[in-house]
């Protein structure tokens, strides 16, 4: 409407750009820096881990670099989460359309079953079919992460005021326009919360992929358990924890970032 005040907001944003960016994203940024410092600095911390395991010859996990493990971990969780989002949000949208409404109880049920099924069991079943490596763990994480996304998308879409939908239809918006311009923007905060839960859980769960040969941050943990080396376990666990916190605080920031109502 008023182009003048719009540009002035933009100017202010650019002028204080970096300062604003840093204050807004400071929390996830601090966690990210900590995560990267430990990932690349772990091999120089032999002194610290010597305290944990004074009698063992090797106290730093060196089979693969921590950076490579972190990358693998992110890749697995990323692919699984992306698929879970596409599938979960897509299914929830489909069953809230007039044509798919009959399937709503079924989809909600299936998603629940997906989460009650332990990922370890999924792995055990998936390995014979898909072989060792990264694929079975992606399938397990996908199934495990589906429920929060489906449930929250359903809740978000059904929580929209009936009058808003009625008006949207009455004004002559098409189904697609209502979905894109009204339903999804209004349900977005709730959907985002579901994705956050799903991704955070999966970062921790992905570690079990190391048992079927998917190399990620679970490797040092499994190897530590097998060899009785607590230092390895701590190294893997700390990095997974930091990664989970970093991603979670990132989502926290995203959820609070509401450019509309400011």
């Amino acid at each position: 409407m008023s182009g003048a005040s719009h540009t002035s907001t933009l100017h202010r944003y650019l002028a204080g750009g970096w300062a604003l960016f840093l204050t807004r994203w400071s929390v996830p940024l601090i966690w990210l820096i900590l995560l990267l410092l430990l990932t690349f600095g772990m091999s120089h911390m032999e002194g610290v881990f010597r305290l944990v395991e004074p009698d063992t010859r090797e106290v730093i996990y060196r089979r693969t670099s921590f950076a490579a493990l972190l990358g693998q971990h992110l890749l697995v969780v990323g692919v699984a989460s992306l698929l879970a989002i596409l599938l979960g949000v897509g299914a929830a949208i489909a069953v809230t359309r007039p044509a798919g409404r009959d399937f709503q109880p079924m989809v909600a049920q299936l998603a629940s079953i997906g989460q009650t099924f332990p990922p370890v069991a999924v792995l055990a079943l998936a390995v014979p079919a898909l072989g060792f490596g990264t694929l079975p763990i992606i399938v397990a994480l996908l199934l495990y992460g589906l429920l929060p996304i489906v449930r929250n998308t359903l809740a978000g879409l059904s929580g929209i005021d009936a009058g808003v939908r009625e008006a949207a239809r009455g004004m002559g918006m098409t189904g697609g326009q209502i979905l894109r311009q009204v339903e999804l923007p209004l349900a977005a905060p709730v959907i985002l919360a579901g994705i956050r839960t799903s991704v955070t859980i999966n970062i921790a769960t992905a570690a079990i992929g190391a048992t079927v040969g998917a190399s990620n941050l679970g490797d040092p943990i499994i190897s530590g358990i097998v060899n009785g080396n607590t230092a390895y376990i701590v190294q893997g666990a700390v990095l997974i924890g930091l990664l989970a916190i970093t991603i979670d605080s990132l989502f926290d920031r995203l959820q609070r970032h509401r450019p509309l109502s400011t």
């Binding site: 808003v164 008006a167 009455g170």
Partner: protein, 313 residues
């Protein structure tokens, strides 16, 4: 012009609307009244096909509504509902501009139209255009709702109890504004309400519905004088009908030039209704009032006899 021929709507085994026929002329303000569940809302929503009718035909300017594409039909019919249905994530200006945007008007034209409508409905552009619905009062939100319904300048306006959730004072103000608006715009309006005073104050034609059928329709004054049955009579206010009829007539229609007597001490505006004049007489225990114009200058007088007078038609 809207025409309904023998229209029926069934939900499962239940008949919500039972073979009604209705004709709303161009520029007419038609109010559908009745108790809740009588089918008035369903009837309204069948016109813009939010509900599809089961039997019969509904015509818009002589063409069956089913011959139009659903969305384009709705885009040429204004629609306002009780709880406004404003989009909470859009500003007031964007909400109002919805239908023009759907119709792909050029940006500049939408902007002009939105500002014009905000002016028309008493919403200062600087103050309101960038506000969000949750920052508005009930009356302001409903004004935005009406502006949105009028945005693409539709010939037909469907209103489903638009003022039902407002407090009495705001409701009366908005009723007055709608009446003035209609006097200028001459839209064809179908208005659903269960508030009989609202219907009497606004409508050119009353359509009384009961259990899915039209029981009676006609000019408000005719229904007040000759209700077909006890239901219509009680809906119209029973013993209060006299006052409701008096509310439909202005003092100016009954006033006389000054008689030989002194001016009566109590005054009434020429624009007041007969029921208000009667109330003034009751309050002051007098049987004669001086009628004054907008500047409070006496222009005639009204006696109780004259007020009760012979019915004009």
């Amino acid at each position: 012009m809207i025409e309904l021929f023998d229209v029926t709507k069934r939900f499962g085994s239940e008949t919500a609307v039972d073979g009604i026929s209705l004709r709303v002329e161009k520029g007419e303000f038609c109010a559908l009244v009745g108790t809740s569940g009588c089918g008035k809302s369903t009837t309204l929503r069948m016109i813009n096909r939010l509900i599809e009718h089961s039997e019969g035909e509904i015509h818009l300017e002589g063409q069956p509504v089913r011959s139009f594409n659903e969305e384009s039909l709705r885009r040429r019919i204004g629609y306002a509902i009780q709880n406004t249905g404003l989009f909470p994530h859009w500003t007031v200006a964007r909400n109002i501009g919805l239908v023009p945007r759907l119709l792909k008007w050029p940006k500049a034209r939408i902007l002009d139209r939105v500002e014009e409508l905000m002016g028309l409905l008493g919403l200062p552009v600087e103050e309101f255009s960038r506000k969000y619905p949750h920052q508005l009062s009930g009356g302001q939100a409903q004004r935005v709702g009406v502006a949105r319904a009028l945005a693409a300048d539709p010939d037909i306006l469907l209103m489903d109890e638009p003022f039902g959730a407002l407090d009495p004072i705001t409701r009366e103000t908005l009723q007055g504004e709608l009446r003035d608006l209609q006097a200028r715009l001459h839209k064809t309006i179908v208005f659903v309400t269960h508030d009989m005073d609202e219907a009497l104050a606004l409508a050119d034609r009353l359509v009384v519905m009961h259990q899915g059928r039209i029981v009676q329709q006609g000019r408000p004054i005719d229904l007040l004088r000759n209700p077909v049955d006890d239901f219509v009579e009680s809906l119209l206010g029973g013993m209060d009908r006299g006052l409701k009829e008096a509310a439909l007539t202005r003092v100016s229609e009954r006033m006389m030039s000054f008689g030989p007597r002194l001016l009566a001490s109590e005054r009434v505006s020429y624009d007041a209704s007969l029921s208000q004049a009667l109330s003034v007489m009751l309050w002051h225990r007098v049987d004669r009032l001086t009628v004054v114009d907008d500047e409070d200058i006496p222009i005639g007088e009204l006696s109780l006899r004259r007020l009760l007078g012979a019915r004009s038609s």
